[in-house]
């Protein structure tokens, strides 16, 4: 990594922040902190996408994730009355096997990627314009687009059915 390029400094800062935030997500004893730190990590990924010239995706991340999903999570936390504030019982007793699996996964994924790609640079190509993405959605990717609308519809309807409280007599 060439440290003389400003982009790389941005990357390092964002990456470190994301890793720190994610680590807090999976270790904190405060549920609220976990949810908020996920916001941080996702915001970091949005920043990376800007760095990669994918502004549209970055915008979607901010809107969908940070605007909607996290709110959903906070609702979930509150409705299920997880203790807000520090809680002792959020984790299992035995964490070592999980840590071993996680580190093993990281070693395999990161190691093989570095071994193959080495120092290959991402060429500075012009960013994909949002209008191109719009065209792609409605031409090349129209089938998945329609299908994903069914996924959302099913999740919506089914989610309401499962989550609503039934009348006692029915």
């Amino acid at each position: 990594m060439d440290l003389s390029i400003a982009q790389n400094w941005f990357f390092i800062i964002i990456a470190l922040a994301m890793v720190m935030a994610s680590l807090i997500v999976v270790t904190t004893r405060n549920v609220m902190h976990a949810a908020l730190m996920l916001v941080g990590a996702l915001a970091g990924s949005a920043a990376l996408f800007v760095l990669l010239g994918a502004e549209f995706v970055a915008g979607v991340i901010v809107l969908v994730y940070i605007g909607a999903i996290i709110v959903l999570f906070l609702f979930g936390v509150m409705i299920t009355r997880v203790e807000i504030g520090r809680s002792q019982s959020l984790d299992h007793e035995r964490k070592w096997p999980a840590a071993v699996i996680a580190i093993g996964t990281f070693a395999v994924l990161a190691g093989s990627s570095v071994a193959f790609f080495g120092d290959e640079e991402i060429e500075g190509v012009a960013a994909v314009r949002t209008s191109d993405i719009g065209t792609a959605i409605f031409e090349r990717f129209v089938v998945p687009f329609e299908v994903v609308s069914f996924v959302l519809l099913a999740a919506l309807i089914g989610g309401i059915v499962l989550a609503r409280r039934d009348d006692p007599e029915s």
Binding site: H92, P97, I101, G104, T105, V108
Partner: protein, 680 residues
């Protein structure tokens, strides 16, 4: 392509697709009816049987009666005509270039089997009508029984190995249903399960053998495989031994050859007509039939497999024969005897004696089903399977007694009865092939056979009655089939007397393959083999007579060492006792009597007792030491071990979803690391 698929069924439905490979007249062309009629009857019995006056028995008898008549007609046409060789087929499927078809072959071999299955089935079915009078579920019985007949006929009519396999498996299923017929007793349904599983193990061998054969030849049609055998195809030659051994493993399962024999004695839990038809006359001969059907392959390309068959057959015939001596259950005596006789057939084929093996199959079907029906008649009368509850039935059940005697004489190979010709042809074949050890074992088993049959007859029909109640002769509907079979058991041997008649030889060699590939045929008696065989039989009867004739009330008494005596003059039981009590201490009969008596007591008695004791002990050792403890144990343990593995393995399913997730990742990582190592 899909269009073709949609049109496929329409094309299939039309029988125009049928292929005929050679002609054989109207009778042969319609032979598929032989297979179809029993299946239709089985279906009809299942659906409507309960509403019929005799619960479906009438349909069952009509169906097998039809088969018997058709089989007889075909047999007569072949014997007195040119001989029928016919193959017809309807294509039903295709996979990877293989045509899968329903096909039927009508040639000497299958006609012989149609005849045997038809005639013996008819006898057993008619008998069953009487035997099952008042049974809890006669409809289920006759439905499965008819299904069995159809399956067996499908097996023997199969022109390709796939269909043979299907018939083979169906035979196993119907056997399972019938053995477990009296499921109110737990051991009966377990026996059915055991038969099913042991067979299935061997069947997998058969299936793989069939697949390898099909792949090598490019077709599952038996006649195509035989063509390759005739051409000495190199590719087939390379794998012929593997194919033959795998096919033989399948045959070992169905024909209950050592060490797959364990299911057959337990299968005696089924109703007696079932034992007679399936576990003596037909189903168990399927293995012999398979080897015979594929015989040119074994003979020309896979002689090693024939050697295996010879050894396995020889082991089975001795071991099972010895086992028969020590049974108290009369059906078990016959079951072990069946095993032993199947051993003869398999060993005969192993020695290359195609005709002799099949001839024994033919005669054995009649006399052994007769014996089973006789045993069933006795059981029906005394309500027990144990010979210790029988005795003296000769007077109460004369017709059962006389037919049983004829069957026994045939089994023991007494001259002019059918078993005499077939067994001696096998013994001659052993000698012909220089298989001296197997020949000696065969002679020894002839001796043993006569011994255990004499024992069974003595304990059942002679002496005094030890059971409860007053036994009566069975109803006519049961007796007439026995009389019919007795006629066949007495005379079936005449169709293949060396040097005089060779009808049977002609029959079973009327096939698409040249007769040269079907083994040699004896044209004259081998007097040594014949003499030794008859001698062994007579000696066995004599020893059995000596040991068991003076019937006694308990097993302990029966196994006591009696006063010696080999001759019929010692017929009187009390006279023997008298001799035993006073022989030495009371020399009033003069020096000669004393001398005879002394000789008798010390030398002959010694020899007789040693021989008797040794055979008996050997029987016990084999039964309790090897059969019950070793093989049964091994099979039970294998079952228990898999069960145990299952019971422990299930605990990996802890119910904790995160442990499942960990397993998922763990599995993924193991896969990845495994690859990493293999790639770098």
């Amino acid at each position: 392509m899909v269009t073709a698929a949609l049109l496929g069924p329409a094309v299939l439905a039309a029988i125009d697709g049928a292929v005929e490979r050679s002609d054989g007249g109207v009778l042969a062309a319609g032979a598929w009816l032989i297979v179809l009629v029993p299946f239709v009857a089985a279906l009809a019995i299942t659906l409507f049987g309960k509403r019929l006056p005799r619960h479906g028995a009438e349909l069952a008898v009509a169906a097998v009666g039809f088969v018997a008549l058709y089989g007889t007609a075909l047999l007569l046409t072949t014997l007195f005509g040119d001989g029928i060789v016919h193959e017809g087929a309807v294509k039903i499927g295709e996979f990877g270039g293989f045509e899968i078809e329903w096909a039927w072959v009508v040639d000497g071999l299958s006609i012989m089997m149609f005849f045997v299955v038809g005639v013996v089935s008819t006898a057993c079915f008619v008998y069953a009508v009487g035997y099952l009078e008042g049974d809890v579920r006669p409809t289920a019985f006759f439905a499965s029984f008819t299904l069995f007949a159809g399956a067996m006929l499908m097996l023997v009519s199969a022109a390709n190995l796939i269909q043979l396999l299907i018939g083979w498996e169906l035979v196993g299923v119907s056997s399972y249903l019938l053995i477990g017929h009296y499921w109110e007793q737990k051991e009966n349904s377990s026996a059915g399960m055991k038969a099913f599983l042991v067979n299935k193990i061997a069947d997998i061998g058969l299936m793989i053998g069939i697949i390898i054969a099909g792949i090598t030849v490019g077709s599952f049609t038996i006649s195509k495989i035989m063509e390759k055998v005739v051409e000495s195809d190199a590719a087939l030659d390379d794998v012929a031994v593997i194919i033959a051994v795998l096919l033989f493993i399948g045959a070992m399962g169905k024909s209950a050859q050592f060490p797959f024999h364990v299911w057959l004695p337990d299968a005696m839990a089924g109703p007696t007509p079932v034992s007679a038809l399936m576990h003596a006359a037909t189903m168990v001969t399927a293995g012999v039939y398979l080897v015979a059907r594929m015989f040119p392959l074994f003979e020309e390309m896979a002689h090693e497999a024939l050697d295996v068959a010879l050894v396995i057959g020889a082991i089975t015939l001795v071991i099972a024969g010895l086992l028969a001596i020590v049974q108290d259950d009369i059906k078990r005596v016959l079951a072990y005897s069946t095993l032993s006789q199947l051993g003869y057939m398999v060993a005969a084929l192993g020695a290359g004696a195609y005709t002799a093996g099949l001839f024994h199959l033919f005669t054995h079907a009649f006399f052994k089903s007769l014996l089973f029906l006789g045993a069933g008649s006795v059981i029906h009368a005394v309500h027990s399977n144990n010979m210790s509850d029988m005795g003296g039935l000769r007077k109460d059940m004369p017709r059962t007694f006389w037919t049983f005697m004829i069957g026994s004489a045939a089994l023991a190979g007494l001259p002019i009865f059918s078993g005499f010709f077939s067994k001696d042809e096998i013994l001659a074949a052993f000698r012909e092939g220089d298989h001296t050890i197997v020949f000696l074992l065969g002679v020894a088993t002839a001796f043993i056979t006569a011994l255990y049959m004499t024992r069974a007859i003595s304990l059942t029909f002679f002496g005094r009655y030890k059971g409860d109640g007053h036994p009566h002769e069975s109803p006519s509907i049961m007796v007439y089939p026995m009389i019919g079979l007795a006629g066949a058991a007495a005379t079936a041997g005449f169709i293949n007397i060396p040097g005089l008649t060779d009808w049977f030889y002609k029959l079973v060699t009327t096939r698409l393959v040249p007769a040269e590939l079907l083994g040699e045929h004896a044209t004259s008696f081998d007097w040594t083999a014949l003499g030794l065989g008859v001698l062994a039989g007579v000696a066995g009867i004599a020893l059995g007579y000596r040991l068991y004739y003076p019937d006694a009330a308990t097993q302990q008494e029966r196994d006591r060492l009696y006063i010696p005596g080999l001759w019929p003059v010692l017929e009187n039981k009390y006279y023997i006792d008298d001799l035993y009590m006073n022989g030495i201490v009371n020399p009033i009969k003069g020096p000669v009597a004393r001398f005879i008596n002394w000789t008798n007591s010390y030398i002959i008695d010694f020899v007789v007792n040693v021989v008797g004791f040794a055979t008996r002990s050997l029987g016990w050792v084999v039964y309790s030491g090897i059969d019950q403890r070793g093989i049964d144990l091994a099979i039970n343990e294998a079952g228990a071990a898999t069960g145990f593995a299952g019971s422990k393995l299930r605990y990996i399913q802890t119910g904790k979803v995160q442990q499942y997730a960990a397993a998922l990742f763990g599995g993924a990582i193991v896969l990845v690391i495994g690859f990493w190592i293999s790639v770098t």
